[in-house]
């Protein structure tokens, strides 16, 4: 959300979030975010992949009626990709400026500009830990997988499955998340559970759906896959 787009030639209006995204607040993240926005504080969303960080930002953008510009940082993006082009640090502190040296420009952030970064601790952890100097410029909002009832509601809403199936998927999620650190790098995300629900809703048998949406994407380790399969069939 910026008052002036990074690329001035783009039409800022197209970045407005038109439809209200489905989001179920879990704690006080909405209030916290709104306060940060009001105070021009940058926000860092921490949490495992697929637990709703991006959805939350969309939801907030819609709620605050701000255009949302997303810069995806996948594993190949290094600090210099960002730093070389955009030196973020001055933008995040009281200066709120973005020097673009190649163009010899100095952009000043408007009042409604808000920088939000999403950050996944653990994931790519050792190699690409966020530097303290970066981390300490943000207000952090912790995200985790939603509580079972909320997660069930989300799955039900997003995929259209019955409450019962959604509950079973949540339970599977809970069991599989137990495996985190013991065999899996990350637990199964809400997103994957939604995908599984979507497959089930479209007629794929539940076991196959979970196989495709949960066991296979999570790991290449055949034994862990089998364990997941057993957990799935225990619950279903």
């Amino acid at each position: 959300m910026s008052s002036r787009p990074f690329a001035p030639e783009a039409d800022i209006a197209q970045y407005l979030v038109q439809q209200a995204p489905y989001y179920v607040p879990v704690h006080q993240e909405v209030e916290l975010f709104e306060t940060a926005y009001a105070n021009q504080l940058p926000v860092m969303l921490k949490g495992p992949t697929g637990c709703g960080k991006s959805r939350f930002v969309q939801y907030m953008a819609h709620r605050l009626k701000r255009p949302l510009i997303t810069v995806a940082c996948h594993e190949d993006v290094t600090a210099s990709d960002l730093v070389g082009r955009y030196l973020l640090h001055p933008l995040t502190d009281a200066r709120r400026i973005l020097p673009i040296e190649k163009k010899a420009e100095l952009l000043e952030a408007g009042k409604e500009f808000m920088l939000v970064i999403s950050y996944n601790p653990g994931y790519q952890s050792v190699v690409k830990e966020l530097k303290q100097s970066t981390k300490q410029r943000f207000i952090a909002v912790d995200f985790d997988y939603p509580p079972p009832d909320v997660e069930a509601r989300i799955i039900q809403h997003e995929s259209g499955v019955s409450a019962e199936t959604a509950a079973a998927l949540v339970k599977i999620g809970e069991k599989v998340r137990h495996l985190k650190q013991h065999g899996l790098e990350e637990g199964v995300s809400t997103r994957l559970l939604v995908y599984a629900g979507a497959l089930i809703q479209r007629g794929i048998p539940p076991h196959s759906a979970c196989e495709a949406a949960i066991a296979r994407p999570l790991t290449d380790d055949l034994e862990i896959q089998r364990s997941i399969r057993e957990l799935v069939s225990a619950v279903l």
Partner: protein
């Protein structure tokens, strides 16, 4: 005398003829003899007399002595021999006489025995006719035939007569065929035929004879060697006689005959051993099966067949130990137990045959039960599943379910239950019950209760789920408040207060609910009964929770509960009145025990394995109602406990006539010994109604109520309880409910490659005494520290031979002062320190530099704590001039710790004893003679050990040698955790050149020890002095195994580096290692200097 043969028309001519004959005979023989014969023949019709004498005269032309014998026998035979028999009989004698007078004398003396013993004329004529034929070739043989015929004929089936004739004919023909090879052979055949027929049917004669014929083969001089064949004929009847049932004897013969590729000696030896092998197999049908399979295998590969024959007993035993008696699943199939094991073992044989076709060597190892392929195939054939295969899956499954981090270990195997018909004791294998100890889940190492691996996996899964659920749903966990509350309602305020004070007792640490529970139970009049009921209630609660939480497990639970039900004792279904039951009639269980048993069955499967005795039905309905509460979703362990107490009260009231508390009854040990609940035996607890005997735990629920959490008191309490006589256990000891099922200590059998064997395990052979002169060269042992078995890779079969090598690990003992030549430790260290003073100083400095500098700065990093100003300036310049700036702009502190564990493995085989001639030794101060390799090795190890001190790496030094696969000696010179000191120096100096080197095994063992070290870098530094070489361990095989061992180590993330002092080491080292993983030092004198440098290089 009215003689029909006498022709009335020519009596005179007959008489005349007789006289002529007598005269002619008398001319050649003693006339008295002739006269005597004539006198004896007087009653015989004249015509017959003429024939007898005529024949005699004919014979006289050949041999006078034979004729005399003939004449002596003739009068005795007139009544036995038909007229038509005389001609052939004497005719054969004539032929014999033509060749040997002596033989014919014997013929006439002995052959009448035939006529005495054999009634059937056709048989006699046949024998004589055969003898006649043989006489043309070998008179001795003819004699032997006649001599043996009566005994042989007696042993032949007498009906039908025609068949017997045929058999005799056959018998003689076979002898004739052998005679073509050699008459001695045939003669032995005839001699041994009767003993043979004592044990085997006549139909087997042919195989027997033919096999004998094939045992003759040319010896080294090119002449035929009859010895094995002769021995065969002599002793095979006896050997074969040992095989039972007798039908198998001819099968065995047929088999050995089919093994045409084996040498005669081997085949004879086989025939001798095979009966012993076969008799070691308990059941006749198993023996039969084995022989059938061996025979069909022999067509493809005789040697594989022999292997199968010799290992058949072991195969069957191992199979049965894995696939024990039937479960309910098996009864669904339309096959008997017999058909089933046949089918499964056939599958095993079939797999072997397929392997055999691909690789004969691998097939052979398979049938010898040596290869891991054989093992796996056996697992599969047994339908079973080994924990090893699924441990990780189960562990993750349990973690997923419970959310706790768990370890899975196998229960150590108890005595194997062999045999297809284990009785009631065999029904429950108490030592195979799963249990949870702390966060370790113990499961049976192998499961074969069901017919397929898939079902067996489900069984494992249910066991795991139930144990995990105990954690998940807090089984047997009762908090303080509910416990006190329960005590108050059940036992009164006083006990509740006591219990509450127990919780405050400082000797009871927080969290040990078990002790509080014990106090709780001590108030109960029937603690064992209450405890059993509690276990039932908890089991039911956990099962219900499982079924509710995991609908997908319901089917599995049903399957396993059904099976478990099948294993439970059956309650006598006969309709009994309550009084009759109380009078002790019916099943071996007391009424209370019956009720508890039935309740358990109902709680598992919702049904019982036999109809409930109607007298007990109302009781069970009531109890079931009480238990139903625990199956509700919100039930806790405390609810179970309450239900159990209530059940107990109810039961005792109903069965003992309203008594609230029981009088302490006297336990009778006699009843305990007839405990029908299994050999586990049962404790009789005082205060139980009617000597209540504790329930055996159901299979899948496992050993219940085992203490949980890290309480270390568990094993202690358990063993203490076991030492108590049953009658002395006055209070409930929850840790010892099931007596003999003592769990192993914290250490389950290891799942890694090398399995530790019990120290007392017998090893084959006596390698220590195998090599003369090696015994006195063995270093003194400070005491063995362990025996380990390792597999060995066999390149030729492309498979591991399981448990092939035995490592004996022992501490290298310091030499005694008296030991000739070797320095005492102190002297050695002193001498070394003096000799190498300068080098040591240098080395220490060098090694100190290896210590990581924690504050070293790494410049130009992608990320870091500081900005690298130089780099930034360059980047700015770059940017200004339009070049892409580098992104490496930071300085990072090096936080890498040096975390190195190194095992130095030193070859001390015999070849290291070689002295290094050629150059005078200039660096071993004061030594007159040239040093040996081992001395140089010692010095190097010493220097390295001193130097490594400076850097602080974990270093272990091992030496190895050995003699054969049964004895790979592995000496501990320095263990990782041992501090370096004079003692280690002494051990280094004690290293002496020993026997041979089986490198692969030593590398495996060192790797295993290294893997126990928690270090980022693990390095195996191998100091070798030559090719791997040991008994049956050389050439390609030894290199391939060593290479395998190295690859195994590398796969386990152990780095390997080899230093070889063999000048020609390059040839084979290149085959073993990648180029940067070894170095060849051609002048061993450089080793002390180079070893530390190499160390430095490979650890950084």
């Amino acid at each position: 005398m009215n003689d029909p043969h006498q022709s009335p028309s020519a009596p005179d001519s007959v008489e005349l003829r007789l006289r002529q004959l007598a005269d002619a005979l008398s001319e050649q023989l003693d006339s008295d003899d002739v006269r005597e014969t004539l006198r004896q023949l007087q009653p015989v019709p004249a015509s017959l007399r003429v024939m007898i004498l005529g024949l005699g005269l004919l014979l006289a032309e050949r041999s006078v002595k034979a004729t005399a014998e003939y004449l002596r026998q003739a009068p005795l035979l007139v009544n036995r021999l038909g007229e038509e028999e005389w001609g052939p009989w004497v005719g054969a004698g004539l032929k014999i006489a033509a060749r040997s007078a002596v033989a014919s004398v014997r013929y006439f003396r002995e052959s009448p025995q035939l006529f005495a013993e054999i009634e059937a004329v056709d048989l006699r004529r046949l024998v004589i006719a055969c003898a006649d034929q043989f006489a043309e070739g070998d008179t001795g043989l003819a004699m032997e035939l006649v001599r043996q015929a009566p005994a042989v004929i007696r042993l032949l089936p007498s009906e039908p007569p025609a068949a017997r004739v045929e058999l005799v004919q056959r018998w003689a023909e076979l002898g004739g065929r052998l005679a073509l090879q050699d008459s001695i052979l045939a003669s032995e055949y005839f001699k041994q035929s009767a003993p043979f027929l004592l044990h085997l049917p006549a139909s087997a004669l042919q195989v027997w004879a033919e096999l004998g014929g094939t045992l003759v083969q040319p010896n080294q001089l090119g002449k035929p060697d009859y010895l094995p064949a002769l021995e065969y004929f002599r002793v095979s009847p006896e050997w074969l006689g040992a095989v039972a049932p007798s039908e198998l004897r001819s099968d065995l013969l047929t088999l050995v005959r089919a093994l045409t590729d084996e040498t005669p000696d081997r085949r004879v030896a086989l025939l001798k051993q095979a009966p012993q092998w076969l008799q070691a197999i308990p059941s006749a049908s198993q023996r039969q099966w084995l022989l059938e399979r061996v025979r069909s295998l022999a067509v493809e590969s005789p040697s594989a067949a022999v292997a199968l024959l010799s290992k058949g007993g072991e195969l069957i035993r191992r199979f049965l130990s894995r696939a024990p008696q039937a479960g309910p699943v098996r009864t669904h199939r339309d096959e008997t137990g017999e058909q089933e094991w046949r089918r499964r073992l056939d599958e095993w044989v079939l797999n072997g045959r397929q392997l055999l076709r691909r690789s004969p060597g691998a097939g052979l190892a398979y049938f010898r039960l040596e290869s891991s392929a054989a093992e796996q195939s056996l697992d599969h054939a047994a339908g079973g599943l080994s924990l090893r295969q699924v441990a990780r899956t189960l562990m993750l499954f349990a973690e997923g379910l419970s959310g706790y981090s768990l370890t899975i270990k196998p229960i150590e195997r108890g005595p194997v239950q062999a045999g297809p018909s284990a009785g009631a004791e065999g029904r429950s294998l108490p030592d195979q019950l799963p249990y949870l100890e702390g966060r370790t889940l113990f499961l049976p190492p192998f499961v074969s209760e069901f017919g397929s691996p898939d079902e067996n996996f489900r069984y494992y899964k249910v066991m795991t789920a139930h144990q995990a659920a105990q954690l998940e749903f807090g089984a047997f966990e009762v908090g303080r408040a509910p416990l006190i509350e329960l005590a108050r309602t059940l036992f009164g305020e006083e006990h509740a207060a006591r219990l509450a004070s127990a919780f405050d007792d400082p000797s009871i640490t927080a969290g040990t609910t078990d002790q509080a529970l014990e106090r709780f139970f001590s108030a109960s009049a029937a603690p064992a009964l209450t405890n059993d009921l509690w276990k039932i209630a908890e089991g039911a609660r956990i099962d219900a929770a499982l079924r509710r939480a995991y609908p997908g497990l319901r089917g599995d639970l049903d399957l396993v509960a059904g099976y478990t039900l099948f294993l439970r004792p059956m309650i006598d279904p006969v309709e009994l009145t309550l009084e009759a039951i109380e009078a002790g009639r019916g099943s071996g269980l007391s009424t209370v025990e019956q009720v508890v048993e039935l309740l358990l069955q109902l709680s598992m499967a919702g049904r019982t394995n036999a109809p409930i005795p109607p007298a007990l039905e109302p009781l069970l309905i009531e109890l079931g109602g009480l238990l139903q509460r625990v199956q509700q979703p919100d039930a806790t362990a405390a609810d179970s406990l309450r239900a159990a107490c209530e059940c107990c009260l109810f039961l005792t009231r109903r069965l003992t006539g309203g008594m609230e508390r029981f009088d302490p009854p006297t336990p009778t040990s006699a009843q305990a010994s007839t405990n029908p609940l299994g050999q586990a035996g049962a404790t009789i607890s005082q205060g139980e109604p009617g000597d209540y005997r504790v329930l055996t735990d159901p299979q899948y629920r496992g050993r219940q109520g085992a203490q949980r959490g890290p309480s270390a008191a568990v094993p202690l309490g358990r063993s203490a309880a076991q030492q108590q006589p049953p009658s002395a256990s006055t209070s409930l000891n929850r840790t010892a409910p099931h007596q003999s099922d003592q769990p192993p200590g914290g250490e389950g059998a290891s799942l890694v490659t090398g399995e530790s064997l019990p120290d007392a395990s017998p090893t084959t052979g006596t390698p220590a005494s195998a090599g003369m002169g090696t015994v006195d060269r063995m270093p003194r042992l400070e005491g063995g520290t362990g025996i380990f078995a390792y597999p060995e890779w066999d390149e030729s079969i492309q498979d591991y031979r399981q448990g092939w090598c035995t490592v004996r690990e022992q501490t290298m003992a310091a030499p005694t002062k008296a030991a000739g030549g070797a320095d005492s430790g102190a002297v050695f260290i002193e001498r070394m320190r003096t000799t190498y003073r300068g080098q040591l100083l240098l080395l220490r400095k060098m090694f100190e530099r290896l210590r990581p500098d924690r504050f070293k700065k790494l410049k130009r990093q992608e990320a870091g704590e500081e900005i690298d100003l130089d780099a930034v300036i360059e980047a700015v310049i770059d940017r200004r001039v339009g070049r892409t700036p580098s992104s490496k702009l930071y300085i990072q502190r090096d936080r890498r710790d040096r975390d190195v564990a190194v095992a130095l493995l030193v070859d001390v085989s015999g070849s290291t004893g070689q002295r290094l001639l050629g150059r005078p030794s200039d660096h071993v101060g004061g030594q007159e003679s040239a040093p040996s390799i081992i001395q140089v090795e010692q010095e190097s190890v010493f220097l390295l050990a001193e130097a490594v001190q400076a850097v602080g790496d974990a270093l272990a030094v091992y030496a190895y040698s050995g003699n054969g696969r049964d004895r790979v000696d592995f000496y501990l010179v320095k263990e990782f955790d041992e501090p370096y000191g004079p003692r280690i120096g002494e051990r280094i100096s004690a290293m002496t050149a020993l026997v041979q080197n089986r490198d692969g095994t030593a590398i495996r063992h060192a790797t295993r020890k290294l893997l126990r070290q928690e270090a980022k870098t693990r390095l195996l530094l191998w100091l070798s002095d030559g090719r791997p070489f040991d008994r049956d361990y050389e050439g390609v095989h030894a290199l391939a195994d060593t290479r395998r061992a190295i690859v195994e180590a590398q796969r386990a993330r152990v780095r390997t580096f080899c230093i070889t002092v063999d000048r020609w080491g390059e040839e084979y080292q290149a085959a073993l290692f990648a180029p940067n993983q070894y170095t060849v030092i051609d002048d061993v004198r450089q080793l002390p200097e180079r070893l530390p440098r190499i160390y430095q290089r490979v650890t950084t």
